[in-house]
């Protein structure tokens, strides 16, 4: 079947749009996460959100709403306690990480009957993205883009050297909290695409591939968006034709892109050495 014919199907068009929107959001937010070495924090937020999924199943609420609440609580707690140095950052994250998963599992087991979409939360299912999901993704993408376009340098300066930024009168706390909230929301919406277990790769693999060729924050963002989209779209196609969960195929495509990037880099630097 032609790719363009596929786009005539509602489900495929939705999946395509979701891949497009989340490539933009994850490209931007992922660059922030990677540059600021917040990958582990993001993992904590991701897994904590599973607690919200479990509770929502139990009470019959929309799971994504529960996930969002838990992710936000985890994000704000991390930011807050890290600042006060109450507990070591990585230990705190590890606690949140496993506590979230534990709460999720407890409530899912307490819920009578079969948890229908559990697999799609764990591994993602971009094929079942609804119009509501898309509207939320569009809103988040617009907010993230606007925030980064308006405050690009402020974000860059705070991320690089918080203390110095403070001496220049930048409201560092406000910037940090806004960003951690955007990180949490991005993670929750990305769970639709790649699932709790795989979501971290959407936020890190494109960035690391881009980082092979540039160390400039804004260029890493742009290349992450492009590579993220290529990975998501090709993963989507593979998923459709081979009938494999999309989260896994998308991650596999992204890793392939990264490996190709490494190979290209190795070859080109070898060439440079030889031509000297």
């Amino acid at each position: 079947m032609e790719i363009f014919q596929l786009l005539e199907y509602d489900f495929f068009r939705n999946a395509f749009l979701a891949a497009f929107l989340m490539s933009i959001t994850c490209g931007i937010i992922g660059t922030y996460i990677v540059a600021r070495r917040m990958v582990f924090i993001s993992g904590g937020i991701t897994h904590a959100s599973f607690g919200g999924v479990g509770i929502s199943y139990f009470f019959g609420w929309p799971p994504m709403a529960g996930a969002a609440v838990f992710a936000l609580i985890a994000a704000i707690t991390t930011e807050n306690l890290t600042r006060k140095k109450v507990i070591r950052n990585d230990s705190l994250i590890a606690v949140m990480w496993s506590l979230g998963m534990a709460i999720g599992i407890i409530f899912i087991y307490l819920t009578p009957g079969y948890a229908p979409n559990l697999m799609s939360f764990l591994f993602g299912s971009i094929i079942t993205v609804t119009t509501t999901d898309l509207i939320l993704m569009l809103a988040l993408t617009l907010v993230v883009m606007l925030f980064f376009i308006l405050f690009y340098r402020i974000i860059l300066f705070v991320s690089f050297d918080e203390q110095f930024a403070k001496t220049r009168g930048i409201p560092v706390m406000l910037v940090n909290y806004t960003l951690i909230i955007l990180v949490a929301l991005t993670i929750v919406l990305s769970i639709r695409v790649a699932g709790i277990i795989l979501v971290l790769s959407l936020l890190t693999i494109p960035q690391n591939a881009a980082n092979l060729f540039t160390s400039n924050f804004s260029r890493i963002i742009i290349w992450s968006v492009i590579l993220g989209f290529i990975g998501a779209f090709s993963g989507l196609l593979v998923s459709y034709y081979l009938n494999i969960p999309s989260g896994a195929t998308i991650i596999f495509s992204l890793v392939t892109i990264y490996v190709l990037g490494r190979a290209i880099k190795a070859i080109s630097s070898q060439r440079r050495i030889l031509s000297k």
Partner: protein, 248 residues
């Protein structure tokens, strides 16, 4: 010399209830060039943080007679991530920010200022390099450029001579002497032997602060001040720790 730029009176400061500074009285005036010395953990960085209002003192009063943005700051090397994906020119540009400014396009005059400042510290050729690809000394020069681009009234430098080779160290002191004509300077070093010959006065910190109103200090005086510092002197300089360089 009537009004200071900033004055600290009876300041206590520390972290999580642990005191790092006790009963500090200190004033900085226009034209000052103060060398701050003291052992590792003596509270030098903490003093700078108090002056920059990065930490709140638990006791005492700070009076600032200049704007906060009129203080230039070069932090100690371990404060930021030296592999962060940011270019030299962006780092230097951050020294020009003042609060939140929505103008995100870099205008030509800012661009020119960045170039001039980089030129002044001798790294103009590295303008578009990410900082992760700089040597330690090149990074320090970049940080100096960031600290002085706003032409502050007071410049505070936390061990700017770390990683810097001897040639740039001399150059650094020459630049600082020049800058001192228009701004007061507070220069921290834990190593008295390599502190600038151009400093005018010395503050010695070991939890408490002793101000020494000349640029010569003897080992005996340091002992009196309870200020054990690393003695890295060149040749045998038994008593005079810091002396005026012979005019060259």
């Amino acid at each position: 010399m009537d009004q200071p730029l900033i004055s600290l009176s009876n300041i206590d400061a520390g972290y999580n209830g642990k005191t790092a500074l006790k009963g500090v009285n200190f004033e900085i005036f226009k034209g000052d060039f103060i060398g701050v010395i003291g052992p590792n953990g003596g509270g030098k960085t903490t003093l700078l943080r108090v002056i920059l209002e990065l930490i709140k003192p638990s006791k005492g009063k700070i009076k600032r007679y200049i704007e906060k943005s009129d203080i230039g700051y070069l932090p100690q090397v371990n404060q930021f991530d030296d592999k962060f994906p940011i270019t030299v020119s962006d780092v230097v540009l951050s020294g020009m920010t003042k609060g939140i400014n929505l103008k995100r396009k870099r205008n030509a005059s800012a661009e020119k200022r960045v170039e001039e400042t980089l030129n002044r510290v001798g790294v103009d050729a590295l303008k578009n390099r990410p900082i992760g690809e700089l040597s330690g000394g090149e990074l320090q020069r970049t940080m100096l450029a960031r600290a002085i681009i706003s032409v502050p009234e007071l410049l505070v430098l936390d061990e700017p001579n770390t990683y810097v080779d001897n040639r740039f160290e001399q150059e650094l002191y020459r630049i600082l002497k020049e800058l001192n004509e228009t701004m007061a300077i507070l220069l921290v070093s834990h190593d008295v032997g390599t502190i600038s010959p151009y400093i005018k006065t010395i503050a010695c910190i070991n939890k408490s602060l002793h101000y020494h109103p000349s640029n010569e200090i003897s080992i005996d005086q340091l002992k009196v001040y309870n200020c054990p510092i690393e003695m890295v002197t060149h040749g045998t300089v038994p008593h005079r720790v810091i002396g005026e360089h012979k005019s060259d």
